[in-house]
Symmetry: C2
Subunit: 453 residues, 2 copies
């Protein structure tokens, strides 16, 4: 064995001449400079096959002991996977290789040396526990599987912005440090805000509603924070939420938007990431018609056939509907007002006898959840735009309405009718890419047990 102490070189003026995707048979006999990290190595004694990876893909370097400087050969033999190198070499015809060429190195610069054996193979889907992977997330993210997931995530983000831009929504950012809880007091992270107590926003709810006054159609893609005590595969303490709000429409218009948005995302990913989907071995859900819309009341009636104990007014847990729906998108609409937050509009008029007094406990709301099988992806509703109704609801839900003065005062100046939804980006990715754990839909997950890296 050629044991050797390796030294790192400075990057200096070394820059790549070609990314992996820019090299083809056209470059045969050209001298090129490639830079990347070693994703795998096969050592056949006097011949080394080195896979060098840059952000676009892999390049095969073939190193024959007889044909390269001995210094270079022993360097590559001793370098561990994950090390970064720059290589000056010649693109050479190779009929036996699938690319019809290989790269024969002439000079090598070591840019960064890995001191430890790789903790997992970058080619493996994952045989190792997620916590071990997350502890070394930056290296874990080099694995092929996650590379594909996050490449597709990038397409999804772009396609969401494309959709909203084409539909004349303006992108906004609302504060994450807020004075009061919107969705109720639990599940909040408290902050020291200078000398006061404040909280991290669970959603941009009240802000996006207010912004419909000035901009009519708004969306925000930003972190939300929920102190979820649950340890599940579908909850995060910090997630990216796609929040949308629009004036002069109701929840049915927003269901239409959400449906078209999902269809646009799937269409775009199928177009831009066809090869990546093949590499992942998955197909995106096919959408042949409108998403089914089932009312909460009908669903409860159906569920009662098999679940004696579920009652109208109960929340619907993922477990209980697991057997009822396959992996498809559908809406559950018209939830009891009692199950929804204070800002959700109730259904007050309908075809039934209006002379009958309203039964508060039977009150429905103009609301929907978008489901994918048993996974909730989005919640939306028509919102209340009248101050007295908001006040009434706040009292009903036991909220301290005085703490919402900064919000309520806006309603004196005519907040337009409006509706909107929030869509969990990681949940959508999880559904589309059939991920087992939501943590793999985010770069650095946060949960009750994990605050690092």
């Amino acid at each position: 064995m050629d044991e050797k102490i390796l030294h790192e070189d400075e990057l200096g003026n070394l820059r790549r001449s070609h990314y992996s995707f820019q090299i083809s048979k056209q470059n045969i006999n050209e001298e090129i400079v490639i830079i990347g990290w070693i994703s795998s190595k096969r050592d056949h004694g006097n011949v080394l096959f080195v896979q060098l990876r840059d952000q676009f893909g892999e390049m095969q370097i073939v190193v024959k002991k007889k044909e390269v400087p001995s210094e270079l050969f022993s360097t590559l033999k001793n370098l561990k996977e994950h090390s970064s190198v720059g290589i000056r070499g010649v693109v050479t015809e190779q009929k036996n290789s699938s690319d019809q060429f290989e790269i024969i190195p002439k000079e090598i610069k070591i840019l960064s040396i890995s001191n430890k054996p790789a903790p997992f193979l970058t080619q493996a889907i994952s045989s190792i526990g997620i916590d071990t992977r997350l502890d070394l997330r930056a290296i874990d993210l080099r694995r092929n599987h996650l590379q594909l997931v996050f490449k597709i995530r990038n397409t999804i983000l772009n396609s969401i912005r494309e959709y909203f831009s084409a539909n004349h929504f303006i992108e906004v950012n609302t504060p994450k440090m807020i004075a009061t809880a919107t969705e109720g007091g639990a599940a909040l992270f408290p902050i020291f805000y200078y000398d006061r107590e404040a909280f991290l926003a669970q959603s941009p709810q009240l802000y996006k509603e207010q912004l419909t006054m000035a901009f009519e159609s708004v969306f925000e893609i930003a972190p939300i924070f929920r102190a979820e005590p649950s340890r599940t595969n579908r909850h995060l303490s910090e997630a990216i939420s796609v929040d949308v709000e629009k004036a002069y429409v109701d929840y049915r218009d927003m269901m239409d938007h959400l449906e078209k948005l999902i269809i646009h995302i799937i269409w775009t990913v199928n177009n831009k990431n066809a090869e990546d989907l093949r590499a992942l071995g998955i197909e995106l859900p096919k959408i042949n018609s409108n998403f089914p819309r089932i009312t909460y009341t009908d669903l409860i009636n159906k569920l009662q056939a098999n679940h004696k104990f579920i009652r109208w007014g109960d929340d619907i847990s993922p477990k209980i509907i697991k057997d009822l729906f396959g992996e498809e998108f559908f809406f559950i609409i018209d939830w009891p007002a009692s199950t929804k937050p204070f800002y959700v509009k109730s259904i007050t008029s309908n075809d039934s006898d209006e002379s009958k007094p309203l039964d508060e406990n039977k009150l429905l709301s103009e609301s929907f959840d978008l489901m994918f099988g048993s996974l909730e992806l989005s919640s939306g509703s028509t919102r209340i735009n009248k101050k007295y109704l908001l006040l009434e609801n706040m009292k009903k839900k036991g909220l301290n309405y005085k703490a919402f003065d900064y919000h309520l005062r806006v309603f004196d100046y005519a907040v337009p009718p409006h509706a909107g939804f929030g869509l969990g980006l990681e949940r959508l990715i999880m559904a589309l890419l059939k991920l087992e754990n939501i943590r793999d839909a985010t770069f650095y997950p946060r949960d009750i047990d994990r605050l690092t890296p």
Copy 2:
């Protein structure tokens, strides 16, 4: 006077047939439905001129007492500005109007009633204190001036993403709840993270650096949190930062990227918002050549001519350089290592005599600040990619290196050489649009005195 008690109608099935920009002379004699809020009203007794605004602009409604139902006339007469209405009307030729048409209403639905007189005219630049405006921000944002600012902000955001997408950067999101301070212990917001203490991220620094391992070229546009005790026109407690990081390059490459990014933004806004810029009465800075790059040392020498007390190694305050530079972009480069955070790479080799021992106090760093006049827009540098150097620097700066174990362990697996920068979005907007107060570059500002709305 026709005093009248007004009642709000439900939105119901009322939807607009045309946005303001979709109505032209082509529509004369057509019946249309328009929806929006009343931005101004002139009452000539028996004729009312009502400006109705939707998200694209204004429409003039002409209401003659003799020609419309008396109910409709008195409704519009009594409705305050900011109220939302839906109007069914006919587009009618009007040679005297600048548009050559006006809208004669046939039916009106009141969607939301303003109960208070408007706190400021939507047409006024602003004669009123910023705190009064911020207390009613949603209404303040209806003012023409801010409408234009945020329309341009939207273009800026899109153009930033365009630039990075064209240059093969992937968009990432890093956690905002973190275990340790990156840039030093002050100016941090502490959080209760379940049963532990945590902090809000001042920047995505260490995460974006780590992500260069897996994705090479990354960017993030997301909130950062700084507990700035200062009350100035250029500091926010919560701001949007454009963070960029790239492997296998140094700080000079990143200055080139930043320069091209700014040029692309200006070019795009000039193209897409020409009319808005005219309405604002401003021109974007002209860029005729590369941004000047002045070294920190040269700048200090220059400053010492007028400021006896400034010494090499001092920070450079906005005040002190105010007289030296006009409203132009320039870089201050090669800052003393002592002024920069622990992760910034020092300049260790140069043309001078390498046999001389290094004077720690004279050590320079591969760093830059992008300035616009006296306003700092961005900071960037080549980063350290070796564990022992990071450890050395952490000790030198008095940081508890054990708390960074989750970060340092990644360096055992060969972090590539990399460089990057952070660009303050609100500061850039402030510079480009000549805003006096950074608070007007954000929707809902946060500062030491303000946590609501």
